[in-house]
Symmetry: C2
Subunit: 237 residues, 2 copies
Amino acid sequence: MKFKIDYQSNTLVDQVEESILDYIKRNKLVPGDSLPNEMALTTEIGVSRNVLREALSRLRMLGIIQSRTNRGIIIQEPSLFTGFEKVIEPHLLSESTIIELMKLRIVLEIGLTDLLFKHLNDNYISELERIVLSHEAVNYNLTLEQETEFHNKLYQITGSEFLISFQKIIHPVFVYAKNNYDNYFAPTNERLRAEKKLITHKDLFNLIKARDMEGYRMAIKLHLATYSDFIEKKTEK
Amino acid sequence: MKFKIDYQSNTLVDQVEESILDYIKRNKLVPGDSLPNEMALTTEIGVSRNVLREALSRLRMLGIIQSRTNRGIIIQEPSLFTGFEKVIEPHLLSESTIIELMKLRIVLEIGLTDLLFKHLNDNYISELERIVLSHEAVNYNLTLEQETEFHNKLYQITGSEFLISFQKIIHPVFVYAKNNYDNYFAPTNERLRAEKKLITHKDLFNLIKARDMEGYRMAIKLHLATYSDFIEKKTEK
DNA sequence: ATAATATATTTGTACTACAAATAGTATAAA
DNA sequence: TTTATACTATTTGTAGTACAAATATATTAT
């Protein structure tokens, strides 16, 4: 099956990129299969090698293809998050995007409860305990690193590779948020503390240790109230 | 601040791409700011225009920059999922990747429960009812489209733009899974039916209508048992 | 002051050229 | 015959030149 061009697309490079992706899909190519070499592709598609290579360069970046001298172009399994990762630069993101990422994190972190308790074992519990105790020893207000260390461990326990990657990738956004929106976060924390509803990592840990899944689910929701409140305040306008 | 090159990277294009991304980050550029034009960049970085343009082409694809004749290169807010979307082609993905995506979907769909009930209103309920009734009228086994229609609506109700996009993007993987792994799914469904634990969309709907959040949470978990069982079977080996 | 025109700049595309890597082939040596 | 070595051809990676198309800016005309 040949290469088709959709002339709607913006530039030639866009068209060629789309055409090659389409070719891979229609021919159901799988990792290990190869694409025609650059010369063949230029004549086949009818563009300059320059344009072709820009399109190939994009696919190479995404990990869909791999090129090697005198071997040609080989399809490979892309890693799903490369593109996503490159794009997560907090300064480039609007507030609404950051809010959407917060929503996503809340959903994930509540949703991973089942997986967390499923994979939980005594080893993990003692690792969590170590983290909680070491932080408790220091201070009332946790540093960002401490905050992160605890939550990372939760993701790790789920054993889901994607959850772990995802968390790692969006982490800088939360660092940024902490630095930029703390004037929003602080009052919420004050209020929760006053109402005795502030859920600390220690509280979460105790529920985990007691294997109280439903209790944990309630608690993690409250623990993330800082973000929910922020979302609320920002979106009610 | 100038452009730095990490000579570790694979090709020159990789180095230039990294260098430009790094430049954007270090200088805290925001959407609307502009990059030096191509000529300036080539001399600054010390590569041919060809190589430079391959790197720029990648960033353009990700939506990080936008180029216009006689205006130069302008930073813009990328859409977070463009890269991810291009890479979701089921034939290119290994089974373990598909399993990871299933895990992610289960976590998301359980996790969105709170958001779902928060945004729930009578309108949504009647929309869901319409869907459920129309499907019930037809047959016992739902088509893929019907399956999708119901779940899409759940995502829509959450009002989270990212959840909706994410669901749309990974959907083809589940179509693919349905077609390829139905020999795994069918027995699970049979078993659940025999044990009277099969949760239909109607069951889910009734819980939603009754605003029984905790009941729903249990139920959606069971409803997704087809996937959990598949994951279990595949990973125990 | 406004409209029309001209000019300069910048990106988009094409083409040529050659270096570097490497798969495949031919040759030499055991 | 087998193995090691050298050679050849192919293919990607990089550089450079050229020009068309778009458009911002400057200039001129009304």
